[in-house]
Amino acid sequence: MNLTTFIVVSVIKTVLALFVLLTAVAYTVWLERKVVGHIQNRWGPTRVGPFGLLQPLADGVKFLFKEDLTPPHVYKPLYIAAPMIAVVFALTSIAVIPIGNSVTIGNLVIPLQITDVNIGLLIILGVTSLGVYGVALAGWSSNSKYSLLGGLRASAQMISYEISLGLSLVGVLMLTGSFSLRDIVNAQSGTFWGFIPRWNIFHGGQFIAFFIYLTAAYAETNRIPFDLPEAETELVAGYHTEYSAMKFAMFFMAEYANMITVAAVASLLFLGGWHGPVFGPPLMRALLPVFWFVLRIFGFLFVYIWVRGTLPRFRYDQLMAFGWKFLLPLAMANLVITALVVALRA
């Protein structure tokens, strides 16, 4: 394809992806409220639209029209920049995530992915690691002790768990010597002995890695049980205590976008991406993988919410101890074992 078509296609893909992602974020919020409500034996949002399906829209409107107040004594430039940083980096990582094989329109083969770089995974890691800045700066710039503590906790916690996160992924990378997410997914096609899908999670003891990744990811996204940075009971609302209206919404979006990214990465790396039974007419053949993929993501999100509804919060020292003294060694052990497996197989 020539440059112009490439640009056009890319723009379209980007816009589409962004739209889908933001909608997904909105409806993840709705889903969470609903599920938690049911877990807590409530109804959750019901008023707006059927099953409160329009609730996210209402929330969005509310956020838009709320007064955007900036408390005094904040360090303004960063106070304003922080939420943008957070949301930008949260949304960026979607760029390298493939959601399925390519679709063919006319004679134009369009991979269902904004761009396929051969170090996609690294880019995701880098971007998410940059996401820390949003939180930290927000906490610091809003010049309030709750925020500061929240920001400190957030940055410390994210740095700490990032190591375990990265290490847990290395096993998979060793199994499929590539950083390209597409390659990784393709490597998982097929089955063992005909009936077990050839997913990495069943592959060379990557189940542990999967567990580590999930835990670390929860910490990275500041979700219960690791939501110390915004622990309501002690820090009011942590790093975004001083934020309101759209800025607050940005943090909100960033968090859920991160959740989705994490879910996507997990399913790509461990659960065989979009692989699944494919049948029917060509268009359906093209779109079924996407459906499988979205299904997995939905499953992850559901687990997220489920966990939130069930588990209590850690204490901060417990969090750190868990991260450094349990997860990290475990990840290293998994790394060594996997290396041995790979070496033996080679």
């Binding site: 360090y75 960063l78 770089v117 051969n118 170090i119 690294l122 880019i123 890691l125 880098g126 971007v127 690691s129 940059l130 820390v132 800045y133 930290a136 700066l137 906490g139 610091w140 500061l148 920001g151 400190l152 940055s155 410390a156 994210m158 740095i159 990032e162 990265g166 010597g177 950083f179």
Partner: protein, 172 residues
């Protein structure tokens, strides 16, 4: 062409960040401008084909080291640095020195390296090859650096551990 444009763009960003680092009087701004420098440097690396280096640059430098800096700045709640006589003197000598030095070095470099050019991704430093080199030709340095890192961790723990926990050490 695009190559040159991108290079100039991010090069300018680099220089802007660096200069900003100098002129900003609040450490956190300096830190953020340094992050900018590092990010754009990563892009430059990509242009040179060192993709893995670029990724690591972002993850390690921007994502870890600079976060540490920001963390410390937040922890110590460092404020703006005040002007002093010494600083003015330093300005007086430092700025022109920097200018002269950079101009001289730049001229010299241009002079020396002539007009040899590189195309985008001239030397693809794919993770595979990099890793292969790292674990074959550079195994010993690699291990040594690992030991160095270990020592650094210990040192950091000892230094930053709270005073009353190592009271005796301070007395001695």
């Amino acid at each position: 062409m695009t190559h040159l444009i991108i290079f100039l763009l991010f090069g300018a960003l680099c220089v802007a960040g660096a200069v900003n680092l100098l002129v900003q009087r609040h450490p956190i701004n300096s830190a953020l401008s340094l992050v900018v420098v590092m990010g754009s440097l990563a892009v430059e690396y990509l242009l040179l084909g060192a993709e893995f280096v670029a990724a690591v640059q972002v993850i390690v430098y921007a994502g870890a080291i600079m976060v540490l800096f920001v963390f410390v700045i937040m922890l110590l709640n460092a404020g703006e640095e005040e002007r002093t006589k010494g600083s003015r003197v330093a300005m007086l000598f430092g700025i022109p020195g920097m200018l002269v030095g950079s101009v001289l070095v730049g001229w010299l470099l241009i002079e020396r390296t002539g007009n040899q050019t590189v195309s985008a991704g001239a030397l693809p430093g794919a993770p595979r090859t990099i890793g292969w080199l790292l674990f074959h030709n550079f195994l010993l340095p690699f291990e040594v650096t690992s030991i160095l890192v270990l020592i650094a961790i210990m040192g950091a723990v000892v230094l930053a551990s709270h005073p009353d926990s190592d009271q005796g050490k301070k007395e001695s």
